[in-house]
């Protein structure tokens, strides 16, 4: 009896394993896209469109696997060996990290595709609870006493770094460029943050599902998504006077794609992001397309006009910003002290 059970257990395990292998063998080729948090819905649509397009062009079935998480964490996983064919992350700095720590993609990866390899852009806005009970209109309202701000951890989340830089840009402008005062202002902001999640999506669920906090500093696309998923009658979007132009870049991880024989399909995949269909899907999923001409005008009408600073012009690029603000012991570490 005992022997029988043990044998059938072993058989069961073997069968499971085989079926697992079989499921993988079904698709002709599989491509792994390692992405950041708020792109889940977009890439679900986009992958289906690309697979259909690739099938029509080559007759080959391609399956795209997705991995989502905080942008910095995802970059780390690729550095540690996650076999991504393409990375579609929140900021160039994270892809720079992969290029610096591995030889899997060239240092000049950003020049391989148009617009610094960013096929869509976004910006940072606020999400507040319906009717805006705390009367939040601009960044200045976020440092007031009694306002709870939800934003993820800039050490692990790309979105959080955009949030941070947008806040910094505003403070710099408001204090007339006084660095000490700017620092103090940003420190005051983070003092109002009760939970630092590791990724943008974690912050969104903290705010929207768990009902913590008065204002969520969020990707614009994520903000629209909150209204869509949780009902527009539950949340309002507040557009601040100044924000930052976020350019989430994409790149082929050539070392991995070559090893897996996926280079052609990986390159085609990213190019397809710039195609009319790709741009249209981006706009539908609340990303600002770099080429708005083929997007649905109704989708485009949802994007408000905001005064935007730029990472390259105003912060001297990601490498500089990373070292100045987010490296170990840099400004963020100096100003952020967890409050319990």
């Amino acid at each position: 009896m005992r022997l029988l059970t043990r044998r059938s257990l072993a058989l069961g395990a073997a069968a499971l394993f085989l079926s697992f292998e079989a499921a993988q063998a079904l698709a002709d080729r599989t491509l792994l896209n390692v992405s950041y948090d708020p792109t889940r819905e977009f890439y679900k649509d986009f992958n289906a469109a690309f697979a259909a397009d690739w099938k029509a062009k080559t007759g080959e079935t391609v399956t795209i696997e997705q991995s989502h998480g905080g942008s910095g964490k995802q970059a780390r996983a690729v550095i540690d060996g996650l076999q991504a064919d393409v990375v579609t992350l929140a900021l160039a700095g994270d892809i720079d990290q992969i290029a610096a720590k591995t030889d899997k993609l060239p240092k000049d990866w950003a020049s391989k595709l148009p617009n610094n390899s960013a096929p869509y852009t976004s910006t940072i806005v606020f999400v507040v609870r319906k009717g805006n009970p705390k009367g939040i209109k601009d960044w200045n309202d976020l440092v007031k006493d009694g306002v709870q701000v939800i934003t993820p951890n800039p050490k692990t989340s790309g979105g959080a770094r955009w949030n941070y830089l947008a806040a910094w840009a505003y403070a710099e402008k408001a204090t007339g460029g006084d660095e000490a005062k700017t620092k103090q202002w940003v420190a005051d902001l983070y003092r109002n943050v009760p939970v630092l999640d590791t990724g943008a999506r974690g912050s969104t669920t903290t705010f929207a599902q768990r009902g913590i906090g008065d204002v969520l500093i969020s990707w614009e696309n994520e903000a629209f998504l909150v209204q869509k998923e949780f009902g527009a009658d539950n949340f309002d979007i507040v557009v601040p006077s100044l924000s930052i132009k976020a350019e989430p870049p994409v790149a082929v991880v050539e070392g991995n794609a070559k090893a897996k024989g996926n280079l052609d399909v990986a390159e085609a995949y990213l190019k397809f992001l710039y195609s009319p269909e790709g741009q249209k899907l981006a706009a539908r999923n609340f990303f600002r397309p770099v080429d708005p001409s083929s997007a649905d005008p109704a989708d485009l009408a949802r994007f408000p006009k905001i005064d935007l600073v730029s990472i390259d012009k105003d912060f001297g690029g990601w490498t500089k910003a990373q070292n100045e603000f987010f490296a170990d012991g840099a400004i963020f570490d100096q100003i952020y002290k967890p409050t319990n």
């Binding site: 697992f20 889940r40 669920t205």
Partner: protein
């Protein structure tokens, strides 16, 4: 009291072990009951209620999703490898520790406890440091096209590490309290080492072993931290059920998340029920083997 004790000198009377009054006892029981209800039972019920919020149809729809099925399959596969492995190695280690004297025994005991005392995240990171592309063995593995982390082997390894102590920790104290005299008796009667192990050692610990295996299984299926670090979170490929629950939750698919969560909780409940049933069914034998004589 003293009188009645004299008539029953051999039997146990746990209710007389303390001198608390009946009200004190009632309060203590009520506090424990409330605590368990608030901390354990109520949240568990919430999981099932949330899962059914949009009806049975949506609940079953979740289980038709290929990514969910893949997560269930992967979880069962990982448990099917990790649990028998840990049962075998845990048994061997407990046997060595309880029945033999050797150098480094205390070190081995400490090592067995290590996965309990360190955070599962660290257990996962250890494998990243070892097998990651930047890790010690990473370049060699890469050359030979062997994938360990961000693939099934890494998930199995992390699970094995985290769940290792469960069987050993159940067995060691029991084996130590049972001593070695029954084994010595068997050897003196001419039994081989293997025969002794099968006929004497194993039957004496089978309940503890089973209990350890059940706990190990529950944890293997439920492990989140260590597996999260080495998984890579590739949907349909390297997501176990706990990781898939997080993904569904973050996808705003709350019903789906709670549906998988209730399945996972259900598996744990089945495990506990199995244990309770076996304890009830074999209560007599259990008492006979655990009592010292």
């Amino acid at each position: 009291m003293a009188m009645s004790d004299r008539f029953l000198p051999l039997s146990h009377h746990p209710e007389r072990a303390t001198s608390e009054t009946a009200p004190t006892k009632a309060v203590l029981i009520a506090v424990a009951g409330l605590f368990l209800g608030a901390i354990l039972f109520f949240p568990l019920v919430t999981v099932f209620i949330e899962a059914l919020r949009k009806g049975w149809g949506t609940l079953f729809g979740t289980f038709a999703d290929p990514d969910t099925l893949a997560a269930i399959r992967l979880t069962l596969l990982v448990a099917a490898i990790a649990v028998p492995f840990n049962a075998a190695v845990g048994l061997a280690a407990s046997w060595a520790i309880a029945k033999f004297e050797f150098r480094g025994k205390n070190l081995l005991l400490t090592l067995i406890d290590l996965p309990f005392s360190i955070s599962p995240v660290i257990s996962g990171l250890v494998y990243v440091l070892l097998f990651g592309a930047q890790g010690w063995l990473g370049p060699w593995l890469d050359q030979h096209n062997i994938h360990i982390i961000f693939a099934v082997p890494g998930i199995v390894l992390a699970t094995v590490l985290v769940t290792f102590p469960f069987v050993a920790r159940e067995l060691i104290p029991l084996m130590q309290s049972q001593g070695t005299s029954e084994e010595e008796a068997a050897l003196m009667l001419g039994a081989s080492g293997w025969y002794t192990f099968l006929k004497v050692t194993l039957p004496n610990v089978k309940w503890a072993l089973l209990y350890g295996v059940l706990l190990c299984n529950a944890r293997a299926m439920g492990e989140f931290g260590a597996v999260s670090v080495v998984s890579g979170h590739i949907r349909g490929l390297t997501n176990t059920m706990p990781l898939h629950i997080e993904i569904l939750y973050n996808d705003y698919n709350f019903v789906g998340a709670f549906a998988v969560a209730s399945l996972l909780a259900g598996l744990a409940l089945v495990t506990l029920l199995a244990k309770t049933f076996l304890e009830w069914r074999f209560a007599g034998e259990l008492a006979a083997t655990s009592r010292r004589h």
